[in-house]
């Protein structure tokens, strides 16, 4: 699991990666730089994922594959994986989104 997160955190500009339980918003595994409050990010990601899932179902769009939240001082990137997990990356605002997305999708496939 840590090796999976390793591949995400190796991307330049990524400040941390986590596996989060989507149901309860708790961290399953993490690799975070100092100063990032993992529990807060995990709770936020799970909360957003739940609301987004319901909104997308209501809109008839199916399930989300990847989402990207851009904030002033950082970026949150999330891939919902199997077994109700979320693969989450916290990154700098100017990170290469495409590259992180690719690694997150790979990590999502590796999560059983």
């Amino acid at each position: 699991m840590n090796h999976t997160l390793d591949l995400v955190t190796r991307v330049r500009g990524v400040r941390g990666a986590m596996l989060v339980s989507a149901d309860d918003g708790l961290i399953v595994a993490e690799q975070l730089m100092e100063g990032i409050k993992g529990s807060a990010v995990a709770a936020l990601a799970a909360s957003l994922a739940g609301r987004l899932r319901r909104a997308m179902e209501a809109a008839g769009l199916g399930t989300s594959v990847f989402w990207h939240l851009q904030a002033d001082q950082g970026t949150l990137l999330v891939v919902p994986a199997a077994s109700g997990m979320l693969v989450v990356a916290v990154a700098e605002p100017d990170v290469n989104i495409g590259l992180v997305r690719l690694e997150l999708l790979r990590a999502g496939e590796a999560v059983v």
């Binding site: 989060v20 149901d23 309860d24 918003g25 995990a42 909360s47 739940g50």
Partner: protein, 156 residues
């Protein structure tokens, strides 16, 4: 959702917690089951039951920890199909405070509740009147005190 407090200094931290954690019901009480504040309850009898049951769980898990020669459990979470129940205690100058929170799994999560519970504990510690000793409730006064508390909590 209306929050009411017997101890008025608990109201602002409680209201913030309810809003941030999207909690459906919250009870702040002492380990003896004496209610300090509540949010979301509509009937006095529900508050009395929840306080008694919450206090009993804290007492029994505390005793279990003692038997295991461990410090008391930090928190207890029960996840049902639609709701989760979170029960935890933290020490304050005035004594231990018990927090019982019920949350809908549709709108909240254990992660959110835990996150904002830490903030609630910090806010309550900051808001607590310094140097004051909480009033002890004697057995002889218990019924009157309970009645007064419920009147305050339900505005009767």
């Amino acid at each position: 959702m209306t929050a009411r407090a017997v101890e008025s200094w608990t109201l602002q931290p409680l209201t913030a917690f309810v809003k941030e954690a999207s909690a459906r019901l919250v009870l702040l009480m002492t380990p003896a089951g004496q209610v300090l504040a509540q949010s979301g309850f509509s009937r006095a009898v529900d508050v009395m039951s929840a306080a008694a049951l919450g206090a009993a769980i804290v007492a029994s898990t505390g005793e279990l920890a003692k038997q295991l020669r461990q410090p008391p459990f930090a928190a207890l979470n029960h996840q049902g199909h639609r709701h989760g129940i979170f029960l935890s205690t933290f020490p304050m100058e005035r004594g231990t405070v018990v927090v019982l929170a019920v949350y809908d799994l549709d709108v909240s999560s254990l992660g959110l509740v835990q996150l904002f519970y830490e903030q609630l504990a910090a806010d309550l510690k900051a808001a607590s009147p310094k140097g004051s000793v909480p009033k002890q409730v004697l057995a002889a006064d218990f019924e009157r005190e309970l009645s007064d508390s419920l009147n305050t909590l339900f505005g009767r």
